[in-house]
């Protein structure tokens, strides 16, 4: 269960699960939704797979991911979405802005 909580703690991974709720998607399709490098996305996929929330299947040169969440895990994801980090929330934007400002200040110093 620790692995599940760890997997659900990250907003990118939660977004991946949200996307996979619609339909199974290839690694490329999933990566297109995020402004991060492919190795980073692969690491996220590995965490989700280790937690048993998604599984992959190879089709030619493509890897297709699909959701294999139990109802309890699905409910936990919904709970995390409702009470946790949300991509478009004001609080998130504020935290992101503060982080960016700090990084900029460090760079200038």
């Amino acid at each position: 269960m620790n692995k599940v909580f760890k997997a659900l703690s990250d907003p990118t991974r939660r977004r991946v699960l949200q996307l996979l709720r619609e339909r199974p998607l290839s690694a490329g399709e999933l990566s297109d939704h995020f402004p991060v490098s492919k190795p980073t996305m692969s690491a996220h996929f590995a965490v989700l797979q280790e937690a048993g929330l998604i599984e992959s299947e190879k089709s030619g040169r493509t890897i297709v991911y699909r959701l294999v969440m139990s109802v309890l895990e699905d409910a936990l994801l919904g709970f995390a979405e409702t009470f946790g980090w949300r991509p478009d929330s004001k609080r998130t934007r504020r935290v992101r802005d503060v982080k960016a400002a700090k990084t900029l200040a460090k760079g200038q110093a």
């Binding site: 339909r23 199974p24 109802v71």
Partner: protein, 208 residues
């Protein structure tokens, strides 16, 4: 390899406890000997199934997933039979007066079993490449089914705890009928091809 050994030990212990309870009940009320033979036979069948599930993986690992379910099923079955037997024994010795307690506890247990069953439904999808219909619909179908049975089980357990026996029986039956109707309707919808169904043989979603 021994699948789910904790569950196996729990199943074995509960089966033994069940047999002991049947014998104790038989001793307390020997006039109902025929009534005690049925649970005894059931416990014997459970023991045989457990023994099979213990031995089979050593011969073959192909059906390990199916065999892993046997101890869990035996645990629930033993609890469903064991609790009423324990209460019946307690009533024989005048410890418990409530006649409905056994039915209530069995109802709650059945609800809990439905919750467990529904919980793992979305996890037991067939391999993606083997799906005859498009994978998105099948995934949605199994998620809906899982939620339907989990909610049905939860509501059923709460019903048995909160309502009177007669009302609980009616409410549980209605809940089961609703869950089954959802299952059947969705199954029929899944079999019917969609208007923009992907071409035959295309098992993956478009864009893959």
């Amino acid at each position: 390899m021994v699948p789910n050994s904790v569950m196996f030990r729990a199943a074995s212990a509960l089966t033994v406890a069940g047999i002991v309870l049947v014998v104790a009940n038989w001793y307390a009320r020997p006039e109902a000997a025929l009534a005690w033979m049925a649970p005894l036979a059931m416990f014997a069948v459970m023991s045989a199934a457990l023994r099979l599930s213990w031995r089979a993986p050593r011969r073959s690992t192909g059906n390990a997933t199916a065999l892993r379910g046997i101890p869990t099923a035996v645990v629930f079955a033993a609890l469903m039979m064991g609790i009423p037997l324990a209460l019946s024994l307690a009533r024989s010795y005048g410890v418990v007066d409530d006649i409905d307690l056994g039915r209530r506890s069995t109802g709650v247990l059945i609800g809990a079993f439905l919750v467990m069953l529904g919980n793992v439904m979305p996890k037991n999808l067939p391999p993606l490449s083997s799906m005859r219909d498009d994978a998105a619909r099948q995934q949605a179908f199994q998620r809906l089914l899982g939620w339907a049975w989990v909610l049905c089980g939860l509501a059923s357990a709460i019903t048995w705890l909160a309502l009177s026996i007669d009302s609980a029986e009616v409410a549980t039956t209605m809940l089961m009928v609703i869950a089954m109707a959802i299952t059947i309707v969705q199954l029929v919808r899944l079999r019917k091809p969609r208007k923009n169904q992907p071409a035959a043989g295309l098992k993956y979603p478009p864009g893959v």
